[in-house]
Subunit: 340 residues, 2 copies
Amino acid sequence: MKDSESGIIHVPFEVMVRVFRQVLERNGFSREKAEICASIFARNSLEGTNSHGVNRFPRFVRYIRAGYVKPQAEPELVHASGAVEQWNGCLGPGPLNAVFATRRSTELASLNGIGLVGLANTNHWMRGGTYGWQAAKAGFIFMGWTNTTPNMPAWGGKNPKLGNNPLVVAIPFENEAVVLDMAMSQYSFGSMENKKLSGRKLPTPGGYDPKGNLTDDPGLILESWRPLPSGYWKGASLSLVLDMLAAILSGGLATREIGTKEEEYGVSQVFIAISPSHLTNFSSLDKILRDIIDDLKTSEPVPGAGAIRYPGERTQVARRENLKNGIEVNRLIWEEILTF
Amino acid sequence: MKDSESGIIHVPFEVMVRVFRQVLERNGFSREKAEICASIFARNSLEGTNSHGVNRFPRFVRYIRAGYVKPQAEPELVHASGAVEQWNGCLGPGPLNAVFATRRSTELASLNGIGLVGLANTNHWMRGGTYGWQAAKAGFIFMGWTNTTPNMPAWGGKNPKLGNNPLVVAIPFENEAVVLDMAMSQYSFGSMENKKLSGRKLPTPGGYDPKGNLTDDPGLILESWRPLPSGYWKGASLSLVLDMLAAILSGGLATREIGTKEEEYGVSQVFIAISPSHLTNFSSLDKILRDIIDDLKTSEPVPGAGAIRYPGERTQVARRENLKNGIEVNRLIWEEILTF
């Protein structure tokens, strides 16, 4: 671990996993569960998403201590019918429940070609892409989403009614994966908080100021709690139907119900896996994607816009860089974690 | 049928179905297929989407005459494995193939809880919402999408590389349905053409002018052929993964390959149905949705923004109004159709 004068330190991945594991073991986790959960948080940071990795870890521990997250809870099967299952997450740790539900959806897909798991009564899964990577690395196509507490207005409304309900789509590709992980707000609260901390504006308008005007100032948006849905009415509509499906398919709470709680817990999630080995063109998947990606990269570039990337490509770059150099961490956050 | 001096006439739904049917019968369709296809085109107009109803019908007939659309072709099963099937559309009429694939996905869902049909080598399905309504009215949850010819740039690129790849999500609701039908561009080319004709601007920036600046002028966007993806990089990313999945799951062409043809034909589509009767909370679906929608409508309204609606609500309003008053049609388009 190498300190610097800027308040940023570099933490090796293995150190981060070990520290998280020790904290979780001190907070009611079994050794095995602590290891899995610590690895997920550390990997989220390793792969470039500190907002749902190290930066979020203190809040996760506070939620455990407050009783919102039950470290020892296990998912329970509520209903199984064909390739569809509904599980109760029993308020267990979101990442552990989501890893379980992802694996279960791939098992159902192995048997049936496609499988769906609805997971009720679970907790924040942190980075949704985690489960896309998990499924894709196991060889499966994956679509999944979660609902959240209301944090976005309806289209035509002012106050929070919709969740930003991140959607994940993942496809295995050349021993890595194409992984789309997108919240329904134009910017995540995590990225707006990061931008605010570093005194930067958003690259495009990302929500409304307290007076109701569109703004690129993340601080004003965090004040109004009124982020812009991605694609205006389109993101608002997609958020709404994803919440409806999450509540129906899991048998759990809808965003409006999560919003009646004092904190965000007891969310609903959906995990759909598809087995490529059930397709006739199974052996050509890599080539189909490679040809699409190669063609995309022959685009005539917009000057100054940066490289054209496919979803998940940046994750691979971050992973390589952070494995080599250690993960950039805010020193104060790290020191707080060491005290837990 | 009541003429008016404005160039707009009102055509009753039944008249539109009959005229379309007669035209299709004169252009190689069997009576039965002409009836189904005519009903879909007329219903698209009835439900407020003239751009994929009466206004598109002349181009559909031209594609038949040019041989891109084969009126008598039937879909052929390529591969079946569990709840997943891959079909060859054999370049048959897009709406007929899509109706077939939607029904097949619901049959697979009836057996397995969830079912997936990939459809290769088919044609434009017109209004995607049609198949969402079909599945939902039959009692099924539905997700489906199509790829298209390249008509949108990659994020960071200038020239068309992505399709606008409409996505449909539908859920049965109180004998009607919630139906989201969204293209990945912020505005459809049809709506930009309409706005340009009437000399209006878009309500938000919808693409780039030929100099590369964001603009709300539909004429300049149609000139640059560079519409804005919905939610910037988010719509571009979602478009990309939907195309990848369409090509993989159907075994058909990707957007880049469709772009090598002289016209848009031979597209790839995905149809996923979920059977609510396989869920433990089957009987509460209407109530879950009603509570979510009622809550949404208690939003504090943005002054002047109009009513807060759920996706599919406007469709029901248009259907009722147009059944009563007849469908508004451009007289010149109608007169052209009568000559076919």
